[in-house]
């Protein structure tokens, strides 16, 4: 269960799919060069592979517990966080104005893949902290920012997001927690929140909770929700910690996976906090971070599957079982020589490389949208990012379950035994398809705000990119036909979705919405894999460009072919599901689904 950071593929993907040189030319990248990026990736890899990866199984075995009102984590987790903080990793992409390192998301995303592969449950602590940091950065008053943010970026304190209540899961309009003005600039927050990741723990001195709640006389629905920053311990004017603020975990959930991370039921009892952003604009404040958070969850789903793949690959080399069917020898062989086992590994590897390409493309769009000097370029990048987010989140995490299960299958009977470790990846990854908006919610977002609302313009832009790449591929390559067919089918699905919204029958599109999201994910994967094929071909023609060694580029071209043969064909069925689901689903007699 060792982990080896896929540094070569990360480097290739950063240049090919995220166009790193352009990211390094952004104002926010001032002082950063390729060499520094490489050094950062190397250091991150070292940390992930050694200290962090080794905590994964122990953290699963000895999950977080609530003992006498305190959340207790395994010592290896606490120790890993100390080292992580001391090495300066928490604030890698946080603003330098508040003790962060200010790295572009593109580079930070590559590091986040490594943290998530090494220990998903652990990685949620810095990820949530940065989410809260970003919310404060965009919306809090300067006084509040000064009070909290630097200590969050350097990892002295952590941050949480308190949205969900039992009756308000996906539908935040139902939030009921209350906020009472105390007459000064503070409020007393009271309510219970559920599913709060790293909601309470002893790894840091203080925790800054961002809490959605309603002011007195707030209107019903989303417009009555405001956001508050509520510290676990009150922070005095001099920055010292004051009294306990009655923000605490009252129980922890028993979960299928990510055991090392406490998932808390949080209770706030007249807990003092500050308003963040305008009253009644709480949801908007949360939406600011949604792209970051959903991109992060997509990376999580991808990263756990990457580790599951590596684990299965190692076993497939080591395990000797059964003769090769197309051989005269009866000697048993390593199972990687059995075609179906090799197929499973390639399906994993090819999907993972496509996912890495897509999430880094999205991360690059985020950086350009945030800091490109030309507003029009920013705007275009923002539209691209908005479109890519539900794909990265939904597609990578649906695949997460498929791929980790393939990993387990390679182990045969040993895969079902917990000590083997394959089961943990299957368990851990499962949450990524659910939280931060279930994939069903992502799919709704994708058909509506991301496709119909812009008349399919961004979808068309990406399909045009695909056409241009197809035109550059060797004309006799089967990749051309496969890619063009996938682009045709995707275009048909886009038209179908647009037509439903135009006809005011969005339910028709909703019935096939997950299939549409998945179809576009696999198609976008093919577009980026075609880009990779061409980039690798260019390197193969020009020895000076072979910075990763000739073999890397040859292998990449083979992996692209594997993606087109083993993975991309799924779009054929998905396309049918997009256009056919409406009748079956919407005409289905309710009585046939009655209890």
């Amino acid at each position: 269960m060792t982990y080896k950071a896929p540094l070569n593929d990360l480097r290739f993907a950063l240049h090919t799919h995220a166009q790193l040189p352009q990211i390094l030319a952004l104002p926010k990248s001032a002082g950063l060069d390729d060499e520094t990026v490489n050094a950062i990736l190397d250091e991150a890899a070292k940390f992930a592979e050694t200290l962090l990866a080794e905590t994964n199984r122990q953290g699963d075995l000895n999950g977080a517990k609530l003992v006498n009102g305190k959340v207790v984590c395994d010592p290896v987790i606490a120790n890993a966080f100390n080292e992580f903080r001391d090495a300066g990793w928490v604030g890698l992409r946080a603003s330098p104005d508040f003790d962060g390192q200010g790295l572009p998301m593109t580079v930070a995303a590559a590091c986040e893949e490594m943290w998530c592969s090494a220990n998903l449950a652990f990685s949620l602590l810095p990820m949530l902290t940065l989410g809260a940091f970003e919310a404060l950065h965009h919306h809090a008053s300067e006084a509040v920012q000064q009070k909290f943010m630097a200590k969050m970026a350097n990892g002295e304190w952590s941050g949480t997001m308190n949205l969900t209540e039992p009756q308000a899961g996906s539908d935040l309009a139902q939030v009921a927690a209350k906020a009472k003005p105390l007459g000064d600039d503070t409020y007393a927050i009271t309510g219970q929140k559920i599913f709060i990741t790293w909601g309470d723990h002893e790894l840091v001195d203080n925790i800054v909770h961002l809490v959605l709640a309603r002011l007195p006389d707030a209107p019903a629905g989303v417009k009555g929700i405001s956001l508050f920053a509520v510290p676990k311990y009150w922070v005095e004017e001099d920055g010292s910690l004051g009294a306990f603020n009655h923000a605490q975990a009252v129980s922890l959930e028993h979960k299928l996976g990510i055991h090392a991370s406490p998932t808390c039921v949080m209770s706030f009892e007249e807990s003092r906090g500050y308003l963040v952003g305008e009253a009644g604009r709480g949801l908007n404040c949360m939406f600011t971070m949604m792209n970051h958070a959903r991109l992060g969850v997509g990376i999580e789903g991808h990263a756990v599957a990457e580790r599951a793949y590596q684990h299965a690959l190692a076993y497939a080399h080591e395990r000797v079982q059964s003769r090769a069917i197309q051989s005269d020898s009866i000697a048993p062989v390593a199972i990687i020589e059995h075609p179906d086992v090799c197929r499973m590994l390639l399906q994993q590897k090819a999907t993972l490389e496509a996912q890495r390409a897509v999430y880094l493309k999205a991360a690059a769009a985020l950086d350009v949208a945030e800091s490109h000097p030309v507003p029009d370029v920013q705007k275009q990048a923002q539209a691209l990012l908005d479109f890519l987010i539900p794909i990265v989140k939904g597609w990578s995490t649906e695949n997460g379950t498929t791929l980790t299960n393939l990993g387990m299958q390679v182990f045969g009977g040993m895969g079902f035994i917990e000590e083997t470790g394959a089961a943990q990846y299957v368990r851990d990854v499962r949450i990524t398809a659910i939280y931060e908006g279930t994939n069903g919610i992502q799919a709704l977002d994708f058909i509506g705000r991301k496709t119909a609302a812009n008349g399919g313009a961004v979808a068309q832009y990406l399909l045009d990119e695909g056409r241009a790449l197809a035109a550059k591929l060797p004309s006799d390559s089967p990749l051309v036909t496969q890619l063009n067919q996938a682009l045709d089918l995707a275009a048909e699905s886009v038209q179908y979705v647009l037509a439903q919204f135009a006809a005011n029958t969005p339910n028709n599109a909703a019935a096939g919405s997950l299939a549409y999201l998945m179809q576009f994910g696999f198609t976008l994967g093919a577009i980026e894999m075609a880009r990779a094929y061409l980039a690798a071909g260019q390197a193969l023609e020009n020895e000076s460009e072979q910075v990763l060694g000739e073999d890397f580029y040859r292998h990449k071209q083979h992996t692209v072919r594997a993606y087109f043969d083993l993975v991309l064909p799924q779009v054929l069925g998905l396309h049918q599901q997009v256009i056919r689901s409406a009748d079956s689903v919407l005409d289905y007699p309710a009585a046939a689904l009655a209890l």
Copy 2:
């Protein structure tokens, strides 16, 4: 987490897909009529729904443990087994010559679906016992049969199958356990076996272990393996129990699921036993039961998914969240009204009904093959059964993971919490794709012995059935086009597989073998769903045939449409994977998968 046996659909499927009247006309069904079958199903449903279903969560929470050398099960499991045995369920399909009830497999299979839905881990105890019973029935000497079998059929004792050793998982040629002749008709068996389901426990007075081992001077490979019956306690000539026979669990595995069932590392130390069948023919003796066992595992995968579906359906009615997107009202609705949630439920329901049709078709073929008076009919049924087995096993259990995960997804965040119960189905079902021959092994069997070895004759026979059904469907129905397209693609895949074996390049077929198995599974599901559509249509035209109520038949036709729209389209991609995988997989450079 209640369970409601799908009695109406079972009855419909027994008549439509298993052609129950023909089964009841077999010699082995003497004395059995439709009314009795209905009464048996009703009683089985009652037991499954009440007593057994209620043990499922407790058995998961308090799994089997090894305490001071004894395997300890939760009392609810022990109690359930007592009731199950006392009600006479263990030997339902065991030969009446040995205290069994001798019911046809077709009827027993319907009951087994209910046991497996109610508590998969529990159901393995009678299932394994019957497997051992069958092996003895076919291969043991009369003396051995008289000694063991009646007490196995009535549940006083249980049985196990001891095949796997650490170095011999799928490849039984590597079995190393030793058998030493003791000079009388007994042998001393020594060795260690792993993954032995219900290998040891205190729920019965004695356990009959069937153990693969090698006689002295046996040749290497499979021809040196013999089968032995080794009781936990020696059985004296008068039937009384003698000394402990040094057959015991030395440890239990920690598994992802099926916690209530002990999965044992078994140690045999000079344990006395009888040879079963001829020396050196041990594997053949095991193969006798393989169709039963693999059919059983297919039913397991299906049954767990059925319960997960019911669980999700209930929650989708109960959980109110978010407004309907195609509505003027902002009031939140039950989530079943959201199209994507309804789509998930229909995908589950439609797949489940197709799977039920296919496993009952296979069970019927088994009965006909075993006891039809006309040898040619028997032979044809045996060929059909042999072909269907890897589909029932592989297709239903691959779907098992997909469907239980859909069930969990319906729950959103609650699905990830163990108390909800959705996670248990995901965990439990996972083993079914692995044991009794991984699905990769099933797929190899399917391309080779089941397709190529008979020149595709059985495949063609089934596709012809499909053509005939397509011709009977209303000609303006979209089902016709969809079914014919699926049949065309399946025929192409069969031809591809045959061509590879003819060209002596079976590796090419092996690379896409799982896709081929899945493609044929979904196609066969469509064939049987078309049959269901027609049968339902006939009932709708003729009130006297509406024994399940008019609504049932209307709903069935809707579910068939859902199968064709939401499930069947997967064959498009699978077909491409069948014919495209070879190049990508077999040409892939080994160095690119090096560690």
